[in-house]
Symmetry: C2
Subunit: 230 residues, 2 copies
Amino acid sequence: MLNTMSKIRGQVKTTGYPQTEGLLGDCMLKYGKELGEESAFGNALIEVGESMKRMAEVKDSLDINVKQTFIDPLQLLQDKDLKEIGHHLRKLEGRRLDYDYKKKRVGKIPEEEIRQAIEKFEESKELAERSMFNFLENDVEQVSQLAVFVEAALDYHRQSTQILQELQKKLAIRITYASNIPKREYLSKPVIVTSSSDLNGVSSSTSKIAVSYDFQLHLASSLDIASPND
Amino acid sequence: MLNTMSKIRGQVKTTGYPQTEGLLGDCMLKYGKELGEESAFGNALIEVGESMKRMAEVKDSLDINVKQTFIDPLQLLQDKDLKEIGHHLRKLEGRRLDYDYKKKRVGKIPEEEIRQAIEKFEESKELAERSMFNFLENDVEQVSQLAVFVEAALDYHRQSTQILQELQKKLAIRITYASNIPKREYLSKPVIVTSSSDLNGVSSSTSKIAVSYDFQLHLASSLDIASPND
């Protein structure tokens, strides 16, 4: 099981994260094409599918953007600043223990040795405190990082809104157009059966129905992919 | 492993789908509160966390909306219209086989029996063709369903955009305010050590650093939850 963080960090080569929108788009494009050009539903599926693919790209950009402008700096903070503070704190603890031990042996060890222990302890305490103080004092930097994250998310939602607005207009036109086409009536063709090849007329419609059915099954499973926790 | 579709269909009781935004929001709220009111980063985390929680609610609404206005009608189509067509097609196949069989026995069975087989076959063919014709002719209905789905998604992205716009403004104000506070300088307090309780001054900062470190670890794992496929 490979961790996404590793992928995002570039430790694992990936051919793009399978965004929900992209999977849904693939499914819509596939069955839209199979339904063919005459089918209003088929054409609409292709249109929605293409928009879904564009939305998946926008989501990919969000992932890359957040990785570079938010996760990476956060990772650096953890690997550098916080690690350094941890180092100072461990050193401080060692020197405190050393001083504690020597303090109890007053009279048994040279005064100079105890004085040195205090000095070293004080030095470490100042270093640790200063590094923590500076880290906490600079927290406006981290607020700015949060703002960068929020901007990336905002950008993603804005672009998705735009794609969907265009799509909505296109679909409205398509519905108006399709609604204005006069309804055809079903004309029964009597069977003059001589061989089973006469049934071809039926099989053309049948395959479209099968495509429509398949689409619905796949759509259900595509939508299902959005749920990581079952 | 419970299927989300079952959950969405209401077959399994659920206390709300754990949206990525909600998990991230919980994490931010938790550590924002731990960092405390003095911390600009802590307050910003709470602000972003609250917005993330609101965005999770908007996503919940999207899920419910899509389920009711898109998945349910699609499911009905599959369970009713397509099932009916399937039934007609199976009946047609049976009658075709019956006719085929009787056709080969011309002369051996009564003429009347063959005529009846043709009639039944024709009747089934017309029923199957008519049901498929009507289904395909009405595909503008399915385009309208797609448009409803697109509208739900559009609504979701619009609302998220609005939440993030408000958040962006608040964060900008917070950053300006925090940047204008004059920087405090670190004042070293010499150690007059008598007991280990004198080290309390250090531990207050330490716990904030620990919170910050924990937040970053949890944030990394929260962001990771968005990836179902590793």
